[in-house]
């Protein structure tokens, strides 16, 4: 049945299918508008008066600051060191003095300020000692750990730390390296220009990444709206045997990793797996170039290509140092047009409004669009959904956006999850084709953040319950132990007394010792119960507080509460104490394992590789986004 439908659909569809290209269903054809910024070559942006370097420029943990205010730093010197696995270092884009370490507005959808290091350049461009790495003759694990210090993250916009992606996980063998050069979003041309101008370096970078991954072959996917880039890449890699350039039709969102892998390799990555699970790893062109610059010249990630386009007088691409204030960049592009309303980071399909013009360029900033009312007119007010299913036809994930909209709108989140809300990549195709102008993606963002928040609260509650159950069983066990001890003592005393009295008089039974000891046991019991009630109260408050707090915080709180809760009077014995601690640790482990199992079983949101770690690390942003989305929905409803 399904195959018949597909067959007929394909028959009547106007899509031209090229050989060796495996189209996915859906997608849209927005007006590219790329010509504006490709007319002139990439220009190197001069060193600005100050550089503001946010600590949070990537997905994962924020790095640890290694400098102090007043420090003089050299160009390329590490300012912050990657902490934990998923993290990236930050380097000085030029030489100068650290003037302050403070909270500044950063380019993030939440608009919230975050910790930044401000560097006042001295204009000398004095490099630190660069140490190129002979990558061919170094063990791979060493290369990976040196990449960890490179600060390189995915420059396509996902900003996932690169050293994680080249690290062998020991589970799957990567056979194919896919280079994502599709650049399917309108307006953005930074990868296009990079390929036109630096194809040789890119190919060298590909060689390195291929070596690191041990991939047998590499496919470069470029959309057919970039003929110059295609020609330049083909020329650069014509001698390479295991490297091929595949031209994919211009269709948004071909640049999404899963869509691109389908297009190039005819592989559909299962929703609960990553590309690496099927032996494929995807890198952006700019990222491989950065890897090349780092390993061969020792240059860490200090700059990137940024497209500045839209309502500016001279749209073009700049090579910009990280931390450069956006305002100076806009000025360099001829200034914003008079009716510029706001600034968008990223493309018009998935980008977001910058909170202000006074934000720095970060590792994620592939494109800055100056929005004007002509370019992005306010959409007319939304009409009711007429179930026309244009959104379903356009969805590259084959979801039913009209159903998800309905469920999200009515806060029917469980149903939304059932209909695979978390497979949604928020590409915006559904909103793009909606005749009723419904901001569909907003509804999905809202539903996702609500579900994530609920899950987190549930997790915290589960943890609290787990601990409480453990505590109750411990109290029960202690009570039994105590009773046993008393009984033993009493029995021993009785035996002693019996022995002694056996000598005196055998006929008279004596219960006094037993009586006394049992009264003692009652007192202990009462005290234990009172203490237990106290502790239960404390634990309850903690649980209530932790419901809205992040998991880690709640865990800490619970530990604080639980630690003094171990009754000191009944168990002075050191060994018993240790045992108990071991048990607590075991309980925590169990809770963790359960959580993991629940994750694997699909009770928890299963998101794309990019989102999950982000979610883990960016609790505050999600809450802020959630509040905003809620507000928006409320407005919508009103």
């Amino acid at each position: 049945m399904h195959s018949i439908i597909q067959f007929v659909s394909r028959l009547i569809s106007s899509k031209r299918i090229k050989s060796g290209i495996y189209p996915f269903q859906g997608g849209v054809h927005p007006d590219g508008r790329k010509e504006a910024s490709t007319a002139s070559p990439i220009s190197r942006f001069p060193i600005p008066d100050k550089l503001v370097l946010p600590l949070r420029q990537h997905v994962g943990y924020i790095p640890k600051i290694r400098v102090q205010v007043g420090d003089y730093v050299l160009k390329g010197q590490m300012l912050a060191e990657a902490e934990g696995n998923v993290s990236a270092a930050i380097h000085a884009p030029t030489s100068g003095t650290i003037s302050q370490i403070s909270e500044e507005v950063i380019p993030h959808p939440s608009g919230l300020p975050d910790m930044c290091m401000t560097l006042i350049p001295d204009g000398k461009e004095a490099w630190t000692t660069l140490t190129p790495i002979d990558w061919r003759n170094q063990p791979k694990h060493q290369l990976v750990s040196s990449l960890r210090a490179s600060g390189i993250v995915g420059l396509g916009g996902a900003t996932f730390p690169t050293h994680i992606k080249v690290r062998a996980d020991g589970k799957s063998h990567i056979h194919t390296l896919v280079i994502n050069a599709a650049e399917c979003e309108p307006y953005i041309t930074c990868d296009d220009m990079l390929m036109r101008e630096r194809a040789d370096e890119i190919v060298k970078g590909i060689e390195i990444v291929q070596f690191l991954l041990g991939a047998e072959r590499c496919v470069i996917g470029i959309e057919d709206n970039k003929p110059e880039a295609i020609a330049s890449m083909q020329a650069a890699c014509h001698a390479m045997e295991y490297l091929s350039v595949k031209v994919v039709p211009t269709l948004y969102p071909s640049g999404d990793a899963r869509r691109l892998i389908h297009l190039l390799l005819d592989t559909e990555i299962p929703h609960n797996k990553r590309a690496t699970d099927v032996g494929v790893q995807v890198f952006n062109v700019a990222t491989v170039l950065a890897i090349y610059r780092y390993l061969v010249f020792g240059e860490p990630a200090i700059n990137r290509i940024v497209t500045v386009t839209g309502g500016v007088n001279h749209p073009k691409n700049f090579e910009v140092l990280f931390g450069t204030p956006l305002r100076t960049l806009i000025d360099a592009a001829g200034g914003a047009k008079e009716n510029a309303s706001h600034f968008i980071m990223g493309g018009p399909m998935m980008g977001f409004d910058l909170p202000s013009i006074d934000v720095p360029i970060t590792k994620a900033a592939n494109c800055i669009i100056v929005a004007t009312p002509e370019l992005f007119p306010e959409p007319p007010s939304a009409l009711p959904c007429i179930r026309c299913t244009r959104c379903a036809d356009a969805c590259p994930v084959y979801l039913q956006p009209q159903e998800l909209y309905w469920f999200s709108k009515s806060d029917n989140f469980e149903k939304a999850r059932d209909y695979n809300l978390f497979d949604c990549i928020e590409c915006g195709c559904c909103s793009y084709v909606c005749p009723s102008n419904i901001p569909l993606v907003q509804y999905y963002r809202y539903a996702k953040s609500e579900i994530i928040a609920t899950d987190r609260a549930k997790e915290a509650a589960n943890l609290a319950r787990e601990r409480n159950e453990f505590r109750l069983s411990r109290i029960e066990r202690e009570k039994l132990e105590r009773a046993q001890k008393h009984a033993e003592r009493a029995a021993a005393g009785k035996a002693e007394a019996a022995k002694a009295e056996a000598v005196k008089a055998e006929q008279i039974p004596d219960n006094s010792t037993q009586k006394a000891s049992s009264t003692g046991a009652d007192d202990v019991k009462k005290a234990a119960i009172a203490a237990a009630i106290e502790r239960a109260k404390a634990l309850k408050t903690a649980a209530a507080q932790s419901e809205h707090a992040p998991v880690n915080a709640s865990k800490e709180k619970l530990e604080q509460v639980a630690a003094p809760a171990v009754p000191p009077k009944a168990s002075d014995d050191e060994k018993v104490k240790q045992d108990k601690q071991a048990l607590i640790a075991a309980a925590i482990e169990r809770a963790k394992a359960q959580k993991l199992a629940a994750n694997q079983a699909g009770n928890s949101p299963m998101n794309t590789d990019n989102v999950s770690p982000a979610v883990q690390a960016e609790i505050n942003e999600i809450d802020a986004m959630r509040a905003k989305a809620k507000e928006l929905i409320d407005q919508e409803k009103a």
Binding site: H2, D31, M349, A392, V397, D423, P435
Partner: protein, 341 residues
């Protein structure tokens, strides 16, 4: 603030509805040519009633009036109902039907996007049950009618119920082929002899088949414009043809041939304009096939075994009820999932 995408490129609801109306134009022209200009009166009456009652209800429900009137959905409902009614039906029949379609079947359920039943078909069914006699008084095509009414005479008949002097109602009406076929079969006549009656044309009704052909033309335009998906008309016409073919092959003396079923009654109007109403129809590709097939089967059964000459309205309403069930059980496979629900 994350509110992407910033761009969109979609025909608005108004444009979609406008294209549907445009696709009905060939049918209306053919209708006028075959039956006279009375249909234009009926269409106007229905349109005015629909727009007025939509506006009134929007006001009562305190909804913005302008955006909902300009979406043109009420006009589409009005036209579809008007085209389904007997042309020379009295004005109040048109008004009552349209009022019921817009007020009860659409606005009281929540307006555009929220009605579980096809409003035009609800209006039609209400009229058919309430006024069965008038609803079966179909005008004869002008070429067959004993008395040919001019536009003004048709206008007078519709608005005032006045027939020209010396003209009995029977002189201007005739049974529809579907109706005639059913009564004649009950009188134990055979198809071959029934088909000799002048009301039969090449495929379906004399004259009526031209209108049907014009609907088909409009339907092809809608397909080409991607206003409707191919699933619904293909499945409906395919199943209707297959089913009538099976019966026809089994017993050609008592069952009409497939072409007759495709070109008679409301088949084409149903295939391209009625079951394609997105609001009351299913949303999944597979669901659309099931839905249309269900309508076709029910239509055929009502036509052949039921008490009404044509079964489209009831078939559509019955299948409308099944839409949530169909949608829930035909969820397509999601990218990266191997199972489909």
């Amino acid at each position: 603030m994350n509110r992407s995408p910033y761009i969109s490129n979609a025909p608005t609801v108004s444009v979609i509805m406008l294209k549907v109306l445009f696709a009905l134009v060939p049918g209306i022209i053919a209708y006028t040519w075959v039956y006279g200009g009375g249909i234009l009166v009926t269409l106007s009456l229905a349109t005015i009633t629909a727009v007025a009652s939509e506006a009134a209800l929007l006001k009562i429900r305190q909804r913005p009036i302008a955006p909902h009137l300009t979406d043109l959905s009420a006009v589409v409902t009005a036209w579809l109902l008007a085209l389904a009614l007997p042309t020379l039906a009295p004005w109040w029949l048109v008004v009552v039907g349209t009022f019921f379609a817009i007020v009860i079947a659409k606005q009281l359920y929540g307006g555009l996007g929220y009605n579980p039943f096809n409003p035009a078909m609800v209006g039609y069914a209400v009229l058919l049950i309430s006024f069965p006699v008038i609803m079966t008084k179909w005008p004869a095509p002008l070429i067959l009618a004993q008395t040919k009414l001019g536009f003004m005479e048709q206008l007078q008949l519709i608005l005032g119920g006045v027939l020209p002097a010396n003209t009995p109602l029977d002189a201007i009406t005739s049974a529809t082929p579907l109706d005639y076929l059913k009564t004649q079969l009950m009188l134990e006549h055979e198809i071959a002899s029934i088909g000799q009656a002048p009301i039969f044309g090449v495929f379906g009704a004399q004259g009526g088949e031209i209108v049907t052909g014009a609907y088909l033309l409009g339907g092809v335009y809608l397909l080409q414009q991607r206003i409707i998906s191919w699933h619904l008309p293909t499945a409906f016409l395919g199943v209707l043809a297959t089913m009538s073919f099976v019966f026809y092959v089994a017993d050609s003396t008592h069952f009409a041939n497939p072409m007759f079923h495709l070109m008679s009654g409301a088949s084409m109007l149903c295939a391209f304009f009625i079951i394609t109403d997105p609001v009351s129809g299913p949303t999944t590709p597979k669901g659309k096939l099931y839905f249309a097939a269900g309508v076709a089967v029910l239509t055929y059964l009502i036509r052949v075994y039921g008490g009404y000459p044509d079964g489209v309205a009831f078939a559509v309403l019955l299948m409308n009820m099944c839409v949530p069930l169909i949608d829930a059980h035909t969820q397509p496979r999601v990218f990266g999932h191997n199972d489909s629900k």
